[in-house]
């Protein structure tokens, strides 16, 4: 059998034709995949490289610091830069403050948002619609409009230069309320009715029916809140002025202001110390985080 005959297809061996088509199709699909993936993989390198460099420079020595080419893999695992970070600033204090603020904000939001979400989704009370519309409208207003009056209110509460200033204004959120309301609306009425017939009050329904079902949206809210609270910089910048009350982002700026830290391996060491917990958090909760972001995206779309 000639090649030309093969190309036309072999009537005696239909299986062979199919296998040949499949093979060439697979091969082309493979190639298309590689061509498509190449620029995307290069792009992902751009995402990783700065982080890799931070790690390698954090182990560098001051004298080899300006040596070029910069080593991608450090010559030795020297921890001197890390020692200097802990000498110059109370890094553990910053870390602890961040943990305290973030934990309080997250727990407070889980409670307040699930409560409000439950009320907006399942209870009838006068003014519900207008209050909810007001909540939604507030998402449109930049926080800088409210900045100066909130500053005065926080000072009036005696929370200036106090971790409370970073917690109280964030104890609830419109976004979280909206997220939980959307979820509670999907719970079938029968569940609630059964409990009502058994004589359960609203608080009981909220606690023993609604909350146990709300695990997934609560986890999403917790992770998004944790992330944004952990990275909050503007608020501490305005309300905190002593270093023992600083959270990590502001503490980083404080560290940079110290002698000889600007643009050095010490700064990189501090950056790595920042990255490690964030990346661990990311790897553990990646799926939920991605879900949360897409969910908030889809809600808007």
């Amino acid at each position: 059998m000639t090649n030309a005959a093969l190309a036309k297809g072999n009537p005696l061996f239909p299986d062979f034709n199919e296998a040949r088509d499949k093979l060439s199709h697979n091969w082309r699909a493979y190639l298309a995949n590689v061509i498509l993936a190449l620029p995307l993989v290069l792009g992902s390198l751009i995402m990783f490289l700065p982080l890799v460099w931070a790690v390698s420079f954090s182990f560098g020595q001051p004298h080899e610091f300006f040596k070029l080419p910069p080593p991608v893999i450090p010559s030795a695992l020297r921890l001197d830069n890390y020692d200097v970070v802990f000498e110059r600033v109370d890094f553990l204090r910053f870390f602890l403050n961040s943990v305290i603020v973030t934990t309080c904000v997250t727990i407070a939001q889980l409670i307040s948002c699930s409560m409000a979400g439950y009320a907006f989704a399942r209870l009838r009370f006068p003014g519900k619609r207008i209050i909810f519309i007001g909540f939604l409208a507030s998402m449109m207003v930049p926080q800088h409009v409210t900045l100066i009056p909130v500053f005065i209110i926080i000072r009036g509460m005696g929370l200036y230069n106090n971790l409370g200033a970073l917690i109280v204004p964030y104890a609830t959120s419109v976004f979280g309320t909206f997220l939980l309301k959307q979820f509670f609306e999907t719970i079938p009425d029968e569940l609630e009715d059964a409990a009502k017939i058994d004589g359960a009050g609203f608080l009981q329904i909220y606690r023993s029916i609604m909350l146990p079902l709300a695990g997934p949206p609560l986890a999403t809210l917790a992770i998004l809140t944790f992330n944004s609270s952990w990275n909050n910089f503007f608020w501490p910048l305005i309300f905190i002025n002593s270093s023992d009350k600083m959270t990590l982002p502001l503490g980083m700026l404080y560290l940079r202001g110290q002698d000889g830290v600007t643009n050095s391996g010490v700064l990189m060491a501090a950056i790595v110390l920042n990255l490690v917990p964030v990346l661990i958090f990311f790897l553990i909760f990646q799926r939920r985080l991605v879900e949360g972001v897409t969910l908030s995206g889809l809600k808007g779309a």
């Binding site: 100066i148 700064l267 990346l279 995206g297």
Partner: protein, 306 residues
């Protein structure tokens, strides 16, 4: 209604409707209080404050529209407004545009592990705080000793004055913003892509439509709701940009990367011109509001809703 009340001793006297309303207010109380104290009252007084001259320590003085008239003549404010608008437009275009194409690319890759890897790597910068990102890039982008310039010269390019020339400092800030946020928009578009029914593609394949035709006739039209959402939130966010410039360039060189919020921050907490700063916030809000309304209006024309 009667059986429902059975067994609830202390509430027996009140009808269910009233009890439900009381419960409703009880449940929204924390959120409502916070809304009043940290949003509604501050917003109203923030708007009011923009009509006063106030240095935080002495009595506020009513000045009518003077603050706004002064803003219109304030060269620095106009500069920051221009910077902010230019930043917002370029960062939005790059973030949303690249995010969309990265998402389409990732989505059409067949290998699941590579998909997952790419999605993760583009999203990682999103969880890192802006301050850390700005400090890191401040280090990598140094003109004479920075790593980035070192490799550029090795590849035969000239050194780029990333942070020292006005033009490049502005570009750097935009690029860093894209580095940090493009993964977020990629995720939004990936979700949008997942919502497109497969049957559409199968039908198109039967009709013999090629890759490009499918992209233009199916993928992009059905992604327009995600595109619209991304454009709206990207623009709102970008107009409030502050942190990256504050840490990386502190507005410089000159005022090349100074934004409205940076100026507002300096006026309020550096010079204690509270009324003047408040009027800047009001202008910023009105600009954002006008743009969002325009986007929503225009959106009706090009967004494809199923």
């Amino acid at each position: 209604m009667a059986p429902l009340r059975a067994g609830l001793r202390w509430k027996k006297s009140k009808p269910l409707v009233v009890r439900e309303a009381i419960a409703g207010y009880f449940f929204i109380l924390p959120t409502l209080l916070s809304f009043l104290v940290f949003f509604l009252i501050p917003t109203i007084s923030g708007l009011g404050m923009s009509f006063f001259d106030w240095d935080f320590f002495s009595e506020p003085e009513y000045v009518g529209f003077d603050n706004f008239l002064e803003l219109a003549d304030d060269k620095l404010f106009i500069t920051t407004l221009k910077n902010t608008a230019l930043f917002a437009v370029s960062a939005t275009a790059l973030n949303v545009g690249l995010g969309m194409f990265i998402a389409i690319g990732i989505n059409s890759i067949k290998w699941g592990w590579l998909k997952a890897f790419l999605r993760t790597s583009y999203f990682i910068p999103f969880v890192i705080s802006t301050v850390v990102v700005a400090l890191l890039f401040g280090f990598l982008l140094q003109e004479s000793t920075g790593v980035v310039n070192y490799y550029l010269t090795r590849l035969g390019f000239d050194k780029v004055p990333w942070l020292s020339s006005s033009l490049w400092a502005f570009r750097s800030v935009v690029l860093i913003d894209v580095w940090k946020h493009v993964g977020f928009f990629t995720l939004i578009f990936l979700a949008g892509l997942q919502a497109i029914p497969r049957e559409l593609y199968e039908a198109a394949l039967v009709d013999g439509a090629g890759r490009l035709v499918r992209l233009r006739r199916i993928t992009i039209p059905l992604l327009t709701p995600s595109l619209f959402f991304s454009l709206v939130i990207a623009l709102i966010g970008a107009f409030q940009v502050f942190e990256s410039m504050f840490v990386l360039t502190n507005g410089g060189p000159g005022d090349a990367t100074r934004t409205v919020v940076m100026l507002l921050y300096r006026e309020a907490f550096g010079s204690f011109n509270m009324g003047y700063a408040a009027s800047m916030a009001v202008v910023l809000f009105l600009v954002i509001l006008a743009l969002t309304i325009t986007q929503v209006r225009l959106g009706d024309r090009w967004v494809f809703y199923r």
